[in-house]
């Protein structure tokens, strides 16, 4: 297996490298988590925790809200204010919570099914409002929790338990949709590019307004099995490493070379008033009128 040079290069000298200590963020006794061997969700979670750590935000001020799905099990493991809700509805609970207490930094953990199938409406409306939510879509191209049905991001032609003859449904591009709906920070990362992902989640978390990160990761148990990927590693290589190109790399590629590849990196960034702040201004202006 070829490993990119930059990954293998030895550590810079002198400073002793210590591994990141996740323990303050993991609830005691909650591991091992429910995810299957090789499931990408755990890798994403680690990038997420490093990013929150880097932000220096107190755990008391972080709320994590999820829907239903394998990915949506994340909140149960981490020591924040955590809320595991209904399938597709994470964003609505998060909206209520954020508006009730705008001081909270609110992370939404959701899957491609949760966010884009049943939850699609809340997804676009959150983007429209530009409320300060960090929406992380764990995109494994399938419904993991219910055993591998077609999701709104399943690639055409792929096999699923509701698409045994090959999926004919065209997929969404999460990022294009988020941008069109009004999200002010839109990016894509992968579990494979864990460091880049950490940086993206950090930026998304610090961004004021609705940020959406489409995170490509692997469900070896179902998507992998049905589509004959040899292993979790194989999926990471094919779907995440070879299936994506960074925005920078893409500039140098022809449309043909880009065919079938997803862009990685920050895809859209804009400035618009944040919703809870706008609401706060309305309150202030009405109260000063009295």
């Amino acid at each position: 297996m070829s490993t990119p040079a930059e990954e293998a290069k030895p550590l810079a000298k002198k400073k002793k490298k210590v591994p990141f200590d996740y323990s303050p963020y993991i609830r005691g006794g909650k591991l091992p988590h429910i995810w299957c061997p090789g499931c990408g969700h755990g890798i994403v979670l680690k990038s997420l925790l490093r990013a929150v750590h880097a932000s220096g935000t107190s755990q008391n001020d972080v709320a994590m809200v999820s829907g239903i799905g394998c990915s949506s099990r994340t909140p149960g493991y981490v020591d924040f204010n955590t809320l595991h809700t209904l399938h597709g509805r994470a964003i609505t609970y998060a909206t209520g919570l954020k508006m009730a207490n705008p001081k909270l930094k609110v992370l939404v953990i959701t899957g491609d099914g949760d966010a884009l199938a049943i939850g699609g409406n809340h997804f676009i409306h959150a983007c429209r409002r530009n409320l300060d939510l960090t929406i992380l879509v764990y995109n494994n191209f399938t419904y993991g929790m219910t055993s591998g049905q077609t999701s709104p991001t399943t690639t055409q032609g792929k096999i699923s338990t509701t698409g045994r003859h090959g999926n004919i449904d065209p997929p969404f591009d999460t990022c294009t949709l988020a941008k069109a709906a009004g999200a002010t920070y839109v990016a894509r990362g992968t579990a494979y590019h864990f460091q880049e992902l950490e940086k993206i989640i950090f930026d998304a978390f610090m961004h004021k307004g609705t940020s959406v990160v489409d995170i490509i990761d692997a469900c070896p148990t179902y998507y992998g099995k049905y589509n004959k990927y040899a292993s979790a590693t194989d999926m990471m290589e094919q779907l995440e490493k070879d299936g994506t190109v960074s925005v920078k790399q893409a500039e140098k590629l022809t449309p043909e070379e880009l065919e079938g590849k997803l862009l990685r990196g920050v895809l859209h960034r804009s400035e618009r008033p944040e919703y809870s702040e706008e609401y706060g201004k309305l309150v202030t202006s009405l109260q000063s009128k009295k």
């Binding site: 996740y22 591991l31 995810w35 061997p37 090789g38 579990a191 979790a232």
Partner: protein
């Protein structure tokens, strides 16, 4: 350019067998082939080869492996 003798660095790899699910990711991505699967868990095959890149930790989905520099 002055040739600098590469300092020998020593690493310790901690594996939590209760957490490891033997998914083989760390084994596959280790650039220097340090690790192997042994039964239901990962094990160190060749510690000497470890360069401390921490790819195994960063890509382990299960919080099961860590690399410390001694």
């Amino acid at each position: 350019m002055a040739v600098v003798e590469k300092e020998k660095r020593i690493f310790r790899i901690e594996i939590d067998p209760r957490l490891c699910k033997a998914c083989v990711i760390c084994v596959d991505f280790c650039p220097t082939d340090v690790l192997m699967i042994n039964g239901n868990t990962v094990a160190v095959k060749n510690l000497d080869a470890c360069n401390g890149c921490q790819l195994c930790d960063n890509r382990c989905p299960d919080f099961a492996i860590q690399v410390f520099e001694e």
